[in-house]
Subunit: 209 residues, 2 copies
């Protein structure tokens, strides 16, 4: 199967806009994270060997590595979200005539919904990680590219919020109360951290010009 | 020249992450808008001919048209932002030995900075338009896709905030006080409208599940 990230931007947008429900908001959340991660790398690259930034030169390759690793993970999640959605659709189509079929279908659906929650949960966690890197880059990176660090944070935060909505909607179909409780608590923490971190980055960048 | 939207997502992300300052945050702002516009269209498509949505069937083709037109404009702005940035770089490289050269360079730079402010200003206006459509779609569209309408709003709002940062940073280099004052006032309005509208959409969607 072709990966979504191997299609052109134009073709991806066309596919997104079409009447097919996947790719949808979950894949966009992961792409938003990937865009933020890429911008974070860019600001680091634009700080390497620049006068005035001698004290952070040793940290830049580490920040670039972290941002590039996140970007790789995000690009995988773009496809995984679509795959997870399609698994829910397949489970919904399972036969439900006999009691045995009903039980099999119920189990397959629960597994598929948990899968469909796990992917955006992973996206949300990575967006939270990205915000931490974007914060460092906004403070240490080339001041001429400081708005790019802020845009990276905006994309990470939009990705985080979008991913959390996708987790929440899937939780409404999951019957494992312990799982729902645990994940609900985690996304509340992630969301609060995201709001605070992205506001701190935005305010810092805004204060510099 | 190849358009950025004709590259693959992977290649675009690589180019973004590289040490070349363009494409940067301005192009990402426009792409964020395009992603939101595409998701808005998708939700409309998923509402066409669906039972329970009879009363909005006549409105859907109009909403789709509006969202698709915005998407087209956003995709043009992805490239335009990069072109506008490159014009600033070209102007900066103009000779500045003689008084005449200095004057020519100054004028070219001012023109280039205004161009570099106008592109994200256009992006910000379109994101504000998109939020209005996303609001309608969040209220009228298929409830099974309501998180996609919310993600559309998140991307529109991230695009709007990102675009405004890019307008503001360019305004700091523009000497035409009347222009700076007028645009500063407009972006304050756009930002306030964006915050209110995106919060209203998010709260509405959140309240449904």
């Amino acid at each position: 199967m072709n990966r979504l990230v191997d299609t052109t931007l134009c073709a991806f947008l066309d596919e997104l806009a079409s009447g097919s429900p996947a790719p949808g908001g979950g894949s966009v959340a992961a792409l938003s994270g990937a865009l933020g991660a890429a911008l974070t790398s860019m600001v680091c690259h634009l700080t390497i060997h620049k006068p005035g930034y001698e004290s952070v030169q040793n940290e830049l390759p580490i920040l670039i590595d972290r941002a590039n690793n996140l970007r790789k993970e995000f690009t995988v999640l773009i496809d995984e979200d679509t795959t997870a959605y399609n698994r829910v659709v397949s489970a919904l189509k399972l036969p439900k005539e006999t009691e045995e079929e009903k039980a099999t279908r119920r189990e397959a659906l629960q597994k598929a919904f948990i899968g469909a929650a796990e992917v955006p949960l992973h996206t949300a966690r990575l967006c939270a990680d990205l915000l931490k890197i974007a914060d460092e880059v906004a403070h240490k990176g080339n001041k001429n590219s400081i708005t790019d660090a802020a845009v990276a944070a905006l994309m990470a935060q939009a990705g985080l919020e979008a991913a959390i909505l996708n987790v929440r909607i899937n939780l409404t179909s999951i019957k494992d109360a312990e799982y729902v409780e645990r994940v609900s608590a985690e996304i509340i923490d992630l969301q609060q951290m995201g709001v605070e971190q992205s506001k701190a980055i935005y305010d810092h960048v805004s204060s510099t010009f």
